[in-house]
Amino acid sequence: MALIDSIKHSATAKAHRPWPRVVVGDDGWKKAIDLLARGRCTLLGLWGDAPDVHMALLDEKAGDIAVVSYACKDGQYPSVAARHPPALRLERAIGSLFGLEAVGTPDARPWLDLGFWDVRHPLGKRARAQKPAPYAFLPAEGEGLHQIPVGPVHAGIIEPGHFRFTANGEHVVRLEQRLGYVHKGIESLMDGASLDEAAKLAGRTSGDSTVAYSYAFAQAVEAALQLDVPPRAAYLRALMAELERLANHFGDIGAICNDASFTLMHAQTGILRERTLRAAEACFGHRLMMDMIVPGGVARDIAPEGPAQLRALLADVRIVFPRLIELYDNTASLLDRTVTTGIVKPALVRRFGAGGTIGRASGRDFDARRKPGYAPYGELKFDVPVLEEGDVNARVWIRIREVEQSLALIEQILSRLPEGTTRAPIKASARFCEGLGVAEAFRGDVLIWLRLDGTGRVARCHLRDASWFQWPLLEAAIEGNIVADFPLCNKSFNCSYSGHDL
């Protein structure tokens, strides 16, 4: 039975693809919340579209997705977070951006709005901003507790965010994050943007995942406009996505070891990362492959010398990387830092629907490339590594195994790359249409939902980074660990600030 059939709805959106969107009343909305709270489905997204709120649900086993829409009454909707905590920050963001109120929410504090904007509710009924009340961090009380405020400006080449630690000596009792510092208002810039402009914005939501964002955005547009992508373009997209995954995993594996003061690994993986980026530039003319995936296909074909460059890269990595794995696995002082540090329990990961390395290191067997799946991954052979331990070490090993899988995927893509065109022409729809795209970035699934108007411009676009369901778990992972292990835990998560803050 499709997910949508179990939820009572009054209407189905006419042009929402490839999965259905239905309009629900109180009954249907409550039923959806009930399915989430009982673990029957996973929260994939929750976003505002004043005066409505939309919620995307995922049936992991079937790979089925459904979007339910609730029309707010007097700017109010029943809180999802009241029964399903993973929705909390999304609800708070809807409150700050749209002014829509989640009735019954356990936490009505603002999110993303830090009190520096001239307007309140920039995506809803705009109003002049008033002087904000001081932000109240959650209390942690007891003898010997002290607070350590960190950020927004951190010590290093990192994005900004605020972490409020409450510690007892060295042990962290509570961590509370406050994010939103790099909020750029991407969703407001999307309103009325042409497809070209919108694709550029999507590709700069989180620079490290620019390929994955462009991928998901293109999927959403193509779904809305019912466009078919040429097979060669589909393969080139996957090639870019795997190169991006490789580069980021190399960087992360080294950076995690570096935060345990094992700089040798950092230096070595830095070389592999650089070689990967140079190969990407040789193939597609840009080191991060920005703006290469566009609605309809890809912006340019692979350079004639590209495949040879990639084969040389693969050969090089296949010699060096196994030695680095051995080095990691045989360095007791390093493992002493990573094993049993920052554990995230599998039940929590499942509940939050946390994807990517964080989910798979804690037993959640989910990868958007496999389910719901998208072209050309159905034609390619790859494994999705899963571990149960959920510690920093497991998150390193998932990355190691995924590097191996990406190498194999790149090999397959090169040997099977179809001939033909690389871009289908865009035909704007004369009517409103909606599309949903899901792509697996290196840190987890990116979801992009959009509505196009009758002139081919974006009427509304929502982008949901994997980090939304991962950041809260970092608060859980650090509990009971020592303060000095926080950088290690944080790096092993490597959540996106920009992707989250939008």
Binding site: A155, V182, K184, G270, I271, S496
Partner: protein, 171 residues
């Protein structure tokens, strides 16, 4: 580990020759670097990087400056953890309204003489994020800028060119 270390000693060095300083950067700097500062700091500068709202693309390429191919430290340039230890603030991103105050405080915490290098197209005027309710604009909206290194993101080689131009002037 021994094998990896040994090979590092015996194999050819990965570090590439330094690029020539960027002409446009030299011209921009001619206005701002004063002689007293040059005499004091010589050819060794400490850089504090501040993300004032970037998409993190620029950060990736700034990170790359430390890898074996670019080896920034050979020029006497190094990244430090505190603005109080810094001679140069390297700022990325459009300055978001949520970060403007933090950027200003970081600038004020950096001792004189100091330079500000704005990195990336967004850092010039807000780039594609200009005009948003949440974006103040380029870095100059918040603090004075001595050098812009453009690009989306600028490649590590372009970053090096800009920084070497800064060193040439600081000499």
């Amino acid at each position: 580990m021994r094998r990896t270390l040994f090979e590092n000693i015996t194999q050819r060095v990965l570090t590439e020759p330094a690029p020539a300083p960027d002409e446009a950067a030299l011209a921009e700097l001619a206005k701002s670097v004063d002689r007293a500062a040059r005499a004091k700091l010589g050819r060794s500068l400490s850089i504090r990087q501040v993300d004032a709202g970037s998409c993190n693309g620029c950060e990736l390429e700034i990170h790359a400056l430390n890898n074996a191919f670019y080896d920034l430290e050979r020029f006497g340039l190094r990244f430090v953890a505190s603005p109080r230890h810094a001679d140069v603030l390297m700022v990325t991103g459009p300055v978001t309204k949520n970060m403007r105050e933090a950027l200003l405080r970081t600038y004020n915490a950096t001792p004189d003489p100091k330079w500000v290098v704005a990195v990336g197209t967004c850092a010039v005027d807000g780039g594609i994020f200009a005009g948003s309710y949440a974006v103040a604009g380029g870095v100059e909206e918040a603090i004075p800028v001595d050098l812009h290194i453009r690009g989306c993101p600028p490649s590590p080689a372009e970053l090096l060119q800009g920084l070497i131009a800064l060193l040439e002037h600081a000499r």
